[in-house]
């Protein structure tokens, strides 16, 4: 079946440092990868949408300078949170979209900033 793995599941970093998270789609051809952040209040914010061979599109309030994304092939994507601060904490979700339009999510990377 379709699975999306994310690594690490949890991470703690000091304020002002950076951390990288990875996402891998297994069992299907991902046509796009979307990165979301889920707040403690459970709301979802779209960070960016990445389609292989196309420019990565960032949403308002999110920039490539802060959240650089690499999407070298259909099954793998990584995102870095640079200079993390308290407001960056949350559950970072990777959603990979299959050929029929369905979007599968990984378990998320929970970022805690001290």
């Amino acid at each position: 079946g379709a699975l999306v793995y994310q690594y690490p599941r949890r991470t703690i970093c000091k304020s002002g440092t950076s951390m990288r998270m990875e996402c891998q789609a297994v069992g299907f051809q991902a046509t796009s990868v979307a990165w979301y952040r889920q707040s403690p209040q459970k709301t979802f914010e779209l960070i960016a949408l990445s389609t292989v061979n196309s420019a990565i599109k960032y949403e308002q309030n999110f920039t490539q300078e802060k959240f650089p994304i690499s999407h070298p092939n259909l099954s793998f994507s990584s995102m870095t949170v640079l200079n993390a601060y308290l407001e960056d904490r949350g559950l970072y979700l990777c959603g990979a979209r299959g050929g029929q339009g369905e979007q599968y999510f990984g378990p998320g990377t929970r970022l805690t900033v001290l």
């Binding site: 979307a34 459970k42 709301t43 979802f44 949408l49 979209r97 999510f105 998320g108």
Partner: protein, 110 residues
Amino acid sequence: QQQVRQSPQSLTVWEGETAILNCSYEDSTFNYFPWYQQFPGEGPALLISISSVSDKKEDGRFTIFFNKREKKLSLHITDSQPGDSATYFCAASRNYQLIWGSGTKLIIKP
């Protein structure tokens, strides 16, 4: 303005009953509507989805009813089990982007 609305915010039903979760949307260009189930500490898992050309989709105990004219849909969970206790998100898709509802927290009492 919230483009996808869910109600109720929380719902408690007894084991064996049918839980009904509601969702409505604003934009008539949305054409794909997935429902996700999320347990605490985990990512959202795709539960069932429907496209705008259908009015019903069934998968085991889970059924989506879709009313395109009224821009409403609902998720029915029949014979609900304690293991169904989770937060359920309705989403609407346009091209590659998902627009999320705010979720319904479902509690099934044994």
